[in-house]
Symmetry: C2
Subunit: 318 residues, 2 copies
């Protein structure tokens, strides 16, 4: 379900490093070559290129990309070049230490906790400690206030069971607990936080389905009706990421290109983090939900190397 | 700081498996040979023996130990043969599904969360899911009630930063928060749970030292004075495990052999789980704290193969 196109015969990491070096040389950078190489390698291939580049030229590839590229294209290419867990750790840190800390910035942590594997989330927390000399949980507590702190803290602390196992009794009783908390507008209730941050995804999907059957509305609709502000938005994102991540990311992309101006950070995040996971499904979902295709959205809202790179990642013939 | 004595020339896993097979053969088991082999191999060597034994004889070594040995010796030898993370997962599960769920049973989870590395705790949670088709957090929520559930749930969810980094401002303000919660007898206060389950161990040690400087008593003494019941005991165990794990385990061993009868489960747990970590220091601490040595305590309170095995693990010349 990846949109990534890796050539049938992949050059060796040394060949790739040499070509990248050549693309960086002299005045101006050959951005197309950089996209052509890194935009067509998977995470483990990129890792090997980074290691080889470092060995050959005693320089970090990330640092070199930083000095050679600029603007949104640079940001996207560097994020892409990171290992997936390292990338999420960097995104979470930027969200936490940034000036603005609303739903738009913070939802990356909901995505990490609800739309990736428990194993990936562990790796993110591990690498977060290494990179930022603090645990992710501590930084959430330092930089985010209640009630968002309570929800995000619990979500990133989760280690969910990751196989399909559903207990109907729990699903029934927890659907009722969720309904009670939502109806009484206590969206930060311990039950809500515990259920969303602990139960496995199959269990939660069943809970959400029972919720709809018993109480008439989908849970995200009720959250919108009874809740408000960033907490409500983050909870809805959590539900969506658990229930159907591709819908969530299709919406993130849609929102980022809608209206005046483009939210490049969100657009980049959605495409770069999902390119090797489910971007093909996100493309389909996008077309279904908005009656237009994702490639056109990118073409209409971006330009230059940034556009070229995003289109490469979504699998367009560029 | 391990008390484990591995021979200078270690036999190959195949040789060890063959000798174990021989020890199991015929009527009666050669328990001494089993102790001689497994009691002198480290975790990675035991892992290889298990794998090799399975390949050679198409039978699990654990199952075979179960059918050949009995009583406390069997329990200890099987726990020892497990991988460290697997062992803690099994111990936590037994504590959670057992009939008695007091401080004595539950403290193993405090030890995992406060006296081992963050990485080890992650491995325990991972293997817990594989072995028991549920996450450790979920099982805590199912089997344990408030307020212990709140504390244990938070502790096992922790992923602490594991390097030495101390923020004096946090240490100061959090010492005051802890004092306030303890003085007002709100031992399950969010602040207490958050601080103990999130901060790195160096940070917490500083916080505890500042606590003593500012408020006169060591925090564990205040916990004892203002708190009560299992919550107080678990909190004190958490403080002790963070501040000085060897003291904690020396006390566990002392309690297990004190009074009438022996608490073999606690004794086994302390020795088996710490043999490869800090049992040498625990031995020293034991002598310092109780004016008698740990070997004598084992000799006085245990017998037969069980005694022989524990003495092997504590590094006695048996």
């Amino acid at each position: 379900m990846t949109t990534l196109r890796v050539p049938e015969v992949v050059p060796s990491p040394t060949q790739d490093s040499e070509r990248l070096r050549k693309a960086f040389k002299g005045v101006g950078t050959d951005e197309k070559a950089v996209i052509w190489i890194l935009g067509h390698r998977n995470a483990s291939q990129r890792r090997k290129i980074r290691d080889t580049y470092q060995q050959l030229y005693h320089q970090s590839l990330i640092d070199r990309l930083h000095s050679e590229l600029s603007s949104d294209f640079r940001r996207a290419m560097i994020l892409w070049t990171y290992d997936p867990a390292e990338r999420d750790a960097v995104l979470a840190n930027k969200a936490l230490i940034g000036k603005k800390k609303g739903f738009k910035q913070l939802q990356v942590m909901v995505e990490m906790a609800c739309a990736t594997s428990p194993h990936h989330l562990q790796s993110v927390k591990q690498i977060y400690c290494t990179l930022f000399d603090s645990s992710l949980e501590e930084d959430i507590a330092t930089h985010i206030s209640f009630p968002l702190r309570k929800l995000l803290g619990a979500l990133v602390r989760s280690y969910r069971y990751d196989k399909e196992l559903v207990d109907m009794n729990f699903a029934n009783s927890e659907a009722a607990k969720l309904r009670e908390a939502i109806k009484t507008k206590r969206l930060d209730h311990d039950d809500v936080v515990y259920i969303l941050s602990t139960r496995n995804k199959y269990q939660l999907k069943t809970t959400f389905e029972l919720y709809k059957q018993r109480f008439g509305n989908p849970i995200d609709q009720d959250l919108k009706e009874y809740g408000e502000g960033d907490l409500e938005s983050l909870l809805r994102a959590a539900v969506q990421c658990i229930y159907c991540p591709s819908k969530h990311f299709a919406e993130v992309i849609r929102t980022s290109v809608s209206g005046l101006g483009t939210d490049e950070k969100s657009l980049t995040r959605a495409i770069v983090t999902r390119a090797e996971i489910d971007l093909l499904r996100i493309r389909e979902e996008y077309t279904k939900m908005f009656g237009t295709n994702l490639e056109d959205a990118i073409t209409g809202d971006t330009s230059g190397d940034y556009k070229h790179f995003l289109k490469t990642l979504v699998g367009a013939t560029v």
